[in-house]
């Protein structure tokens, strides 16, 4: 296959973004259409890659390699495997639905979409990177647009604070990981940043144990690991809808994924040594995140903390170091990505009309927007791990893996599931059912057709993967196998 599929996927957004910048600022419709076209293109390409990938062959496919900075052994090396391909697809889905949801942005949509696309390119770039320097390069590209997107188009009350906090946290995390990466580069003696080569580098146990925390925690900050999760809820809430969708849906997976690719796969001994700690912290994520979500009165904060909780499950899956747990973690990254994008889209639709996110002040929305309610319920059921939805398909193997690794953790984490059910039902009941407050009666318009498409796509995917797991599970399992092999088989 000579067509540089992955390169086109990575660079389409940023090129589109630059082209969009050339459109005059007042022509908002043209800008939106151009953005949608670009996002659709990205989605189709990533879907195409997903379908064309040869599952029986496994391993890294669509590989391309060019020398980039030969003086340091840095190359432009791209490829996808079972773990990264679903995430590439996820990014395509989220950028597409995100553009649909952002149709109503009226203040400088040109800059908004341009920055959003820079972000998308960065994310795509990380997922397909097979070179350590390249991974960092794209990782950082995905960080700074967040600042502008949140600070400029976000929720007025906290946007500046949240944007700065988020950017600083993520930047420091990535730089700490970068130093770890440099240490790996120089210690390996191989003179290359190529991930595949570094996987076979054979670092000493002491080296791995020392550097794993830097690399892992540096990236896991973006994954929202406790106690470095603090930036996440504020960031989620302050961001405009599409950015929240991207943030929780894709960006947090970026952190977890990078932690996997660079931490677990390059420093397996270190991973093994530190896994009890990660298990412990991730468990705190799951349970604490759920508890805090329970007591929130702001609709968006509930979802924000729910993200922290679900990302805990991803990292639990990683820390099990076995095939089931890793498969589950990979599936959970995809499933939660779609689910949380759906949640934030719904929150956006509600807030745009009600101009409040205060749960006690909301109610009865299912009468005005039944489809939105159904979509939210689908997302809620998926988030609870209800069978028939992708959440169950993802959480089940994680728990299987936890049983093998550390049963006590499985029991405690199960508690998180129960609390999740409780807060989801609570929010659903309060916001969508019950009685609509008098002052809102008659002022709430229905969702737009574009909202419906976006929500429909997201909900449909949650059901599809839930009912027919063979669409995704074997693919992720093959990726997990590769990781397990590097971990020394477990």
């Amino acid at each position: 296959m000579d067509f540089p599929l992955l390169t086109v996927i990575v660079f389409t957004p940023i090129v589109s973004g630059l082209l969009i910048l050339l459109i005059p600022g007042e022509r908002k419709t043209e800008i939106r259409i151009a953005a949608l076209a670009a996002a659709t293109f990205a989605l189709l390409l990533s879907l195409g890659a997903y379908i064309i990938y040869d599952r029986s062959l496994g391993g890294y496919q669509f590989v391309q390699i060019f020398t980039w900075i030969p003086q340091l052994g840095i190359s432009y090396h791209v490829g996808v495997d079972g773990m990264s391909l679903p995430l590439v697809l996820l990014t395509g889905i989220v950028i597409f639905t995100g553009v649909l949801i952002s149709w109503g942005i009226d203040d400088r949509p040109r800059e908004f979409f341009a920055f959003l696309f820079v972000l998308a390119s960065g994310v795509f770039g990380v997922f397909v990177s097979l070179d350590l320097f390249q991974l960092f390069f794209f990782y950082e590209i995905a960080v700074f647009p967040m600042y502008l997107l949140i600070a400029i188009w976000g929720w007025q009350v906290t946007r500046e604070y949240a944007a700065m906090k988020l950017t600083l946290y993520l930047f420091i995390g990535s730089l700490v990981a970068l130093v770890g990466g440099l240490a790996m580069y120089y210690t390996s003696g191989l003179g290359t940043f190529d991930l595949l080569a570094l996987q076979e580098a054979g670092f000493s146990t002491a080296f791995q144990r020392l550097w794993f925390p830097f690399v892992f925690f540096g990236f896991a900050v973006l994954g929202g690991i406790f106690p470095f999760h603090n930036w996440s809820p504020d960031g989620h809430v302050a961001a405009p809808t599409a950015v929240s969708m991207f943030h929780a849906g894709v960006l947090m997976k970026l952190g977890a994924f990078a932690a996997l690719r660079v931490g677990f796969m390059l420093l397996p001994e270190g991973a093994r040594f530190w896994s009890p700690l990660i298990l412990g912290l991730a468990t705190v994520n799951v349970v604490y995140g759920a508890f805090i979500a329970m007591v929130q009165t702001d609709f968006k904060y509930v979802i924000g903390f729910s993200s922290v909780s679900h990302m805990g499950l991803v990292m639990l899956g990683f820390a099990t170091l076995n095939r089931e747990g890793l498969t589950g973690a990979g599936l959970q990254m995809f499933s939660h990505g779609v689910m949380t994008a759906l949640f934030f889209a719904v929150v956006g639709v509600v807030y745009d009309r009600a101009h409040t996110r205060d749960i006690p002040k909301l109610g009865g929305f299912s009468k005005v927007m039944p489809l939105v309610a159904v979509a939210f319920i689908v997302g809620g059921l998926a988030s609870m791990g209800m069978p028939g939805f992708s959440g169950f398909i993802a959480e089940f193997p994680i728990f299987m893996g936890l049983w093998k690794a550390q049963p006590v953790v499985a029991l405690i984490a199960a508690l998180g599931i129960v609390i999740t059910a409780a807060y989801i039902m609570r929010v659903v009941g309060r916001v969508f059912f019950g009685k609509m407050p008098a002052e809102m009666e008659g002022h709430i318009s229905r969702e737009t057709a574009l909202d419906r498409i976006a929500l429909g796509v997201l909900a449909g995917i949650l059901i599809l993967v839930g009912v027919v797991p063979s669409v995704m599970a074997p693919l992720v399992a093959s990726g997990a196998d590769a990781v397990v092999r590097l971990l020394g088989g477990a």
């Binding site: 028939g388 169950f392 049983w403 690794a405 499985a410 199960a414 797991p469 063979s470 599970a473 399992a477």
Partner: protein, 525 residues
């Protein structure tokens, strides 16, 4: 035809869901269209299950109409369906009651499409539990059955009534009931899930047939990664056993896990109560028979005494509670507790007496239990249907508000009498057969319990008669004078199959018992 027969179970399982999708796409305003489409759609699984019944070979060992396909390879779970004598009976019950429930829902006005779609979805969930031969699949369908019922109670349940919850806050009764239902059942399901995971971990597969093969020979401990704790296989089995028991006990419900039932049954819409009492309760008992007994003969044996005690308590206390009710629907609800107690008693006897000399009696007991599952499905559905009929016209369920209604609704009265007798266990009707078999089977095994449960039988009879008296006999309550309370044609059509079956089984039970028996014989060696 060939295709039909080889994929019969999948067709039965998925037609309701497909139907639900179709229903959701119908135009909202056309209520008549929605109702009739749903009804016809729900008749398809019924027709298919009749086909299934006729082609089912009772004498053949093992599971029939098996279907196996790849589903979730990564965790070694497959799409595996199959029926035996017990499950084919339950499938028939489910596919029979659903159309009737839909037929009775003609008066629903609000969000009709969603209502109908949820019912169909519910049907798939229940059928899936009965048809699944893979533990994970079993669990998936178990859970799928939960959500539609929650929404049915929450959104279309009885509009009046409030309950007070912690903190003095008042919530509508249906919200309270649905939430309680959900939480109780989910709590049980959680244990079920963990147990299934443990079994899956230990045996490396979720396929029921493979597990049954390997289970007894399983001796290695469940080792854990890098930690000095290993769970011996005995502990794994024990934990899984108790988790199963709790989950199923909540569903049946076994006393003392029954407290969700009266509220859920009472607040649910009529059709919802029909299905709830008619089928959903049977899921728990089915779980005992399908999973607990075959996999845990030893543990079940030691636990059987406790189970029998709890069953007896359910029988007696359910009956007494029923006696004390003023709410007609609640009266019937508690009688369900009572009737299901017999089912559990039969199962307990089987658990105790498997492989012993009293095995023959155990067989009779389980035959009775399974038949009771079927029968109670019929009679409870019928009773709730009739309560609903009356409620639709009078808008009250309080027995004291009734009185002397027989002249105003003679046909209704007749049908009510008939169904009540079936529920009560009048010889000649189905209830008698099953209860007799249970008592006959358990008497040699758990004599004391059986004797005590006779009291329950007595009290149940009394409470049902009391109910009848307060509704039909006595002086006419002036409130209803001049009103037309008669049952209408549609409702009669809904009741007819139930009544016919009640009579048929009561007079000639062989056609169904023989099917059950052959399977039970294999279950109880």
């Amino acid at each position: 035809m060939e295709f039909l027969l080889t994929h019969l179970l999948s067709l039965i399982l998925f037609t309701p869901v497909a139907g639900a999708v179709v229903v959701m796409m119908l135009p909202r305003e056309q209520a008549r269209l929605v109702r009739w489409v749903t009804l016809w759609v729900s008749l398809i699984p019924l027709a298919l299950s009749l086909l299934l019944w006729t082609h089912f070979q009772a004498e053949a060992p093992g599971f029939q109409f098996e279907e196996k396909a790849v589903w979730y390879e990564a965790v070694h779970s497959s799409y595996h369906l199959g029926v035996d004598g017990i499950s084919v009976t339950m499938v028939l019950l489910t596919t029979l009651l659903t159309p009737l429930a839909i037929l009775i829902s003609w008066s629903i006005r609000q969000n009709l499409r969603a209502y109908m779609a949820l019912f169909l979805l519910l049907e798939t969930g229940m059928l899936g539990v009965f048809l699944a031969l893979d533990l994970l699949l079993f669990f998936v369908f178990w859970e799928i059955g939960l959500v539609p019922m929650y929404f049915l109670i929450n959104q279309w349940g009885s509009e009046h009534g409030e309950r007070e919850i912690g903190g003095g806050q008042k919530v509508p009764a249906r919200n309270y009931a649905s939430f309680k239902f959900l939480i109780y059942t989910m709590a049980g399901s959680l244990g079920l899930l963990l147990a299934i995971q443990m079994i899956g971990s230990a045996t490396g597969t979720f396929d029921l047939e493979e597990i049954t093969l390997r289970w007894s020979t399983l001796s290695e401990s469940l080792t854990l990664l890098g930690l000095p704790i290993t769970l011996p296989i005995g502990t794994v089995k024990a934990i899984a056993f108790w988790a199963f028991v709790v989950a199923f006990a909540i569903k049946v419900p076994v006393w003392p896990f029954h407290t969700w039932l009266p509220d859920a049954h009472t607040e649910a819409p009529t059709a919802g109560s029909m299905i709830l009492a008619g089928v959903l309760l049977k899921l728990g008992a089915y779980g005992f028979l399908r999973l607990v007994l075959p996999l845990y003969p030893a543990e079940a044996r030691s636990f059987a005494g406790v189970l029998a005690l709890l069953a007896t308590l359910a029988i007696i206390l359910g009956a007494f509670a029923s006696w004390g009710q003023d709410d007609f629907k609640r009266l019937v609800a508690y009688s369900s507790v009572n009737h299901m107690g017999f089912v559990v008693l039969g199962i307990a006897a089987a658990a105790y007496a498997r492989g012993t000399l009293a095995a023959a009696d155990a067989v009779i007991a389980v035959n009775g239990a399974v038949l009771q599952m079927f029968n109670h499905g019929l009679s409870a559905a019928g009773m709730f249907l009739l309560v609903g009929v009356l409620y639709d016209r009078t808008h009250t369920r309080n027995l004291k508000d009734y009185g002397g209604l027989f002249p105003l609704a003679p046909i209704y009265g007749g049908i009510l009498l008939f169904t009540a007798m079936a529920s009560l266990g009048l010889p000649g009707l189905n209830g008698f057969i099953s209860e007799f078999m249970v008592v006959r089977g358990t008497w040699p095994i758990f004599t004391v319990f059986t004797a005590v449960s006779m009291i329950g039988l007595l009290i149940t009879g009394a409470s049902i008669l009391k109910g009848l008296k307060m509704v039909l006999h006595g002086p006419l309550n002036p409130k209803w004078a001049g009103h037309s309370l008669e049952i209408n044609g549609r409702e009669v059509v809904a009741m007819t199959p139930l009544m016919i079956l009640c009579l048929a089984i009561g007079v000639w039970p062989a056609w169904i018992v023989s099917v059950i028996n052959s399977t039970v014989l294999r279950l109880i060696p």
